[in-house]
Symmetry: C2
C-alpha cells in the first residue's frame, strides 16, 4: 500500500539535503527556485522523493495535511466526491506544479490526489517551509503565486471545461493535456485518461467520453489511439478548436 520512498540524502558531512536540492533539475520551476544556494544550506529537514503507480493516492481528502508535494514527472488529478456521492476531478497537476498547499495552514487536505500516470514527486514537510519562510521573505510571494495559479486553474476548469457540448469539452481537454506531452513536436504523444476519468473531469458519462474520443480519431485529430495514450495532430487540433469556438 505504501509507495516507495527514496531518500535524496547525499553521503556528505554537512547539509546533505541542500546538495540534493541544489542539483535538482527542476529547481527553477520548483518552490525553492527563488532561493539562493546559501538559503538551501538552511535545509535541515528531510525532503523525500516518492514514486507512485497510476491509481495510487498521494493523499486523501480530510487527512491532516503534513506535507506538500512538488510534481517531478507524471500527472496528478485532484478529486472530490460531492454530497450525492458523485466523483469530480477539479484540477490536474503536472511537472513543476505544487499541490497540497493546505498543509501550510495546518488544514486537512481539500481533495484527494491520485496518480494518473507513473508519478514522481518530492514530499516537502510542512515544517520545512515554515522554517525557511522565517528568514526568506521572498518565499511568501512564491507561495502566493502558487496559490493564485491553483485558483486560476480551478476557475479555468469551470469556464472552459464545464460548458458547451460534450465534443467541445473533450476537444479542450485534449488541448490541455497536450501541455503534458513528451516532445514538443508537431505530433506529440499525449497521455489519455481513463474514459471514466474523462467523464469525471468533464461531467459526462464514460460512454459519451468514449464516443467523443472516437470522433476525434475519425476526424484525424488523434492518430494511433491507445486506451491510455494517443498521438496528436497539434495543428489540426488548433484548427478544430478555432472553428468549433466560432460556430
Amino acid at each position: 500500500m505504501h509507495a516507495a520512498v527514496v531518500s535524496l540524502h547525499r553521503q556528505g558531512p554537512v547539509h546533505p539535503q541542500a546538495q540534493a536540492c541544489a542539483r535538482c533539475e527542476l529547481r527553477r520551476l520548483a518552490l525553492f527556485g527563488t532561493l539562493s544556494e546559501q538559503a538551501l544550506d538552511c535545509i535541515h529537514v528531510h525532503i523525500a522523493a516518492q514514486r507512485l503507480e497510476p491509481g495510487q493516492a498521494l493523499y486523501d481528502i480530510g487527512q491532516q495535511a503534513g506535507a506538500l508535494f512538488t510534481v517531478r514527472s507524471g500527472v496528478v488529478r485532484l478529486e472530490r466526491v460531492n454530497a450525492s456521492g458523485e466523483r469530480r476531478v477539479v484540477r490536474l497537476a503536472g511537472r513543476g506544479d505544487l499541490i497540497g498547499l493546505e498543509a501550510l495552514l495546518k488544514q486537512p487536505y481539500g481533495s484527494t490526489a491520485l496518480a494518473s500516470t507513473p508519478l514522481e514527486v518530492c514530499r516537502i514537510p510542512r515544517g520545512l517551509v515554515a522554517e525557511l519562510s522565517q528568514s526568506h521573505v521572498g518565499l511568501a510571494t512564491a507561495l502566493m503565486q502558487r496559490w493564485q495559479h491553483a485558483l486560476a486553474q480551478a476557475e479555468e476548469w469551470l469556464a472552459e471545461l464545464s460548458m458547451g457540448p460534450a465534443q467541445r469539452r473533450v476537444l479542450r481537454l485534449v488541448h490541455k493535456l497536450s501541455q503534458y506531452a513528451q516532445g514538443d513536436e508537431q505530433q506529440p504523444w499525449i497521455w489519455l485518461p481513463t474514459r471514466g476519468d474523462i467523464g469525471a473531469m468533464l461531467n459526462m458519462s464514460m460512454e459519451t467520453a468514449s464516443r467523443a474520443i472516437s470522433a476525434l480519431r475519425r476526424q484525424g485529430v488523434l492518430l494511433q489511439v491507445e486506451p491510455q495514450r494517443a498521438r496528436l495532430d497539434l495543428a489540426l487540433l488548433q484548427a478544430t478548436l478555432r472553428s468549433d469556438e466560432r460556430g
Copy 2:
C-alpha cells in the same frame, strides 16, 4: 459610470485611517483583523469605502490590478467569459470576503467582479498590504488563508454546483445563498439572482432556472417569491436536500 467614493478619513491629527479601521465593525472578519491596534497606526495609505449599485463592475478581467477589496455588505459575483463567448459565474463573495488578491502579485485581474446586490466594499491599495507585510509576518498567513478559501470555494463550485440534474443544482445554490441571508431565523429572506445569472452560475438556460425556482415555490421551499428575493423555509430546504441527495 464611476461609483461613489466615500473617504473614511477621520478629522484628526495623526494616522486618521488607522482610527477608521480600528472602529470598523468588520475588523475581526477582515484582512487586518489579526493586526494589533499599534499595527493599524502604520497605515498611511488611503483605504476608501465604495458603494455600487447592482450591475456595476468593481473591476474587469484583464485590468492591471491595483487594489483588493473587502466586502462590507452585499454580494459580488466573479465572472469569466470563455473562448466561445459564454458567460460563467465562477465564485460568489459576501460580507467579510476578500477579492482581487491577484493585485498583490501585480497580475491582471483573473475575472470580472460585478455587484449582484447593492454593495459596500473597502478598496485596499496594493501598496498598503506590501507595506504592512514587511513588518507583520502574520499578515502573510492571513493572506494565504484567504487564497485557500477562494480555492476551496471554486472547487466546491465544481463539485457541488456543476453536477447532477438542474433541480438539484438550484436547490444547492439556494442553500448556498441562505448563508447571505439577513436574519438567521427559520424563514429568512434571501437574495435571488436574476434567472440569467442563475443560469450562468449553474450552467443551464435561464428558462430552466426559472422553472426550477417555480418548482421550489410549488414545493413550499420558497415562500413569497419575488424576482430578486424570496422567503425561504430553511427546515424544508434541508429536508429536501437530504432526500434529494439520497434518491
